[in-house]
């Protein structure tokens, strides 16, 4: 079976800092996603990527950059961390963007900004 690995598991940053989160999958999936999870707000799509070197904005892309340099990896950058921000960032992947397969998730990166 495959796995989605997110690093780091915990990330503490300073206000205004640029922070990078990484995600690797070995399912050989084409599509990868970044979601943000806030308490009481469910999951919101930040960026997704249909294939290597492709990037598509989700509903919450402002304040973030993403990079898909390899099929197996997808990085997310918080361009300027906001003071007292706390959230969980979840990476997911699926076979292809248009075949309605349920995305599979990593265990998340928990962000706290001081």
């Amino acid at each position: 079976g495959g796995i989605i690995t997110q690093t780091p598991k915990f990330l503490i940053g300073q206000e205004g800092q640029k922070l990078t989160l990484k995600c690797q999958q070995n399912f050989n999936h084409d599509t990868m996603y970044w979601y943000r999870q806030d308490s009481g707000k469910g999951l919101r799509l930040i960026y997704y990527s249909i294939t290597e070197n492709d990037l598509q904005k989700g509903d919450l892309s402002e304040g973030y950059d993403a990079s898909r340099e390899k099929k197996s990896s997808f990085s997310l950058t918080v361009t300027s961390a906001q003071k007292n921000e706390m959230a969980v960032f979840l990476c997911a992947s699926s076979i292809a963007y248009n075949n309605n397969q349920a995305p599979l998730f990593g265990e998340g990166t928990r962000l706290s900004v001081l």
Partner: protein, 115 residues
């Protein structure tokens, strides 16, 4: 626009009791539907998925869900809850078209299990 509503933010049941977690969706047509579970400090794990066909879908760990087009619902059920089912449950909908990537999640239902 498509949407998912989980009307119960929190549900408390006794161990051994039956369970129903509610999910209502909004979508023109028949969507694909999923239930996920999130245990503390973990990511989301897929419990079951509905693709057009039999309205009752079986999942892992004794969970099942029933699709109802007339009620726009996809409720999750379990006959006998175990303490290890204490988690957050998310319902999600995926459209039937080129926007299939836009899986929309509900806000989740926290399930608490009493001994």
């Amino acid at each position: 626009a498509q949407s998912v509503t989980q009307p119960d933010a929190r549900v408390t049941v006794s161990e051994g009791a039956s369970l129903q977690l509610r999910c209502k969706y909004s979508y023109f047509g028949t969507p694909y539907l999923f239930w996920y579970v999130q245990y503390p400090r973990q990511g989301l794990q897929l419990l079951l998925k509905y693709y057009p066909g039999d309205p009752v879908v079986q999942g892992v760990n004794g969970f099942e869900a029933e699709f109802s087009k007339s009620n726009s619902s996809f409720h999750l059920r379990k006959a006998s809850v175990h303490w290890s089912d204490w988690a957050v449950y998310f319902c999600a909908v995926s459209p039937h078209d080129t926007n299939a990537y836009k899986v929309i999640f509900g806000k989740g239902t926290h399930l608490h299990v009493l001994p």
